[in-house]
Amino acid sequence: MIQITEHNINIEEIVKAASRHEAGAVNVFIGTVRNHTKGRNVLRLEYEAYEAMAISEIKKIVDEAILRWSLLGCAISHRVGVLTPGEVAVVVAVSTPHRADSFTACQFIIDTLKQQVPIWKKEVFEGGEEWISATP
């Protein structure tokens, strides 16, 4: 299950979608909106995705994770739209027979997602706004 959504992410639902009865371990990464970054007070984040390509790029990452680790289930949901501090921006859940693989695979997926998947966030803080990572 791969999802780009404008609605609140239901963590339990993502975990269920990734779980398998043959799996003993589920690892879940949840990225939330921080209330400050670089000493600035964050008012909100605005997320935007190139949806069709984002889903296709996430699929490639999941396919690689399935090949490299014994991934049994995987579910990923990413929010778009306006998010305020404390809200959940992304959830990655993977299930594997043994627990060490669940950590490694989940970390690989979120790390690679952040590098490759066409999703952008603009941070709106007190006194300004900035597309994160856009300029040197």
Binding site: Y50, A52, A89, K114, Q116, P118, W120, W131, S133, A134
Partner: protein
């Protein structure tokens, strides 16, 4: 030589002033498209990186493009 419709996201949307722009390109490669885009919108050269996606996949500089392809500018991503 062709006329290409290009999708814009994130900061590139602000630079071109909308979700889409149209550029004339001398040639039919991603590399030539990039030159046209940067000529029309010098602000694009200030980005940390700018990839071009063709039909929902990252394209390299030599990739040939057609006017019917779905083409997009991909500034540095920052999901998660």
């Amino acid at each position: 030589m062709g006329r290409y419709k290009i999708k814009a996201f994130g900061i590139t949307k602000d630079i071109v002033g909308g979700r889409e722009t149209v550029v004339e390109v001398e040639g039919n490669t991603v590399s030539e498209l990039r030159l046209s885009l940067q000529g029309k919108y010098p602000g694009l050269t200030t980005l940390k990186s700018l990839f071009i996606a063709v039909n929902n996949a990252y394209a390299d500089e030599q990739t040939a493009i057609k006017e019917t392809d779905e083409i997009a500018m991909i500034p540095p991503v920052s999901g998660g």
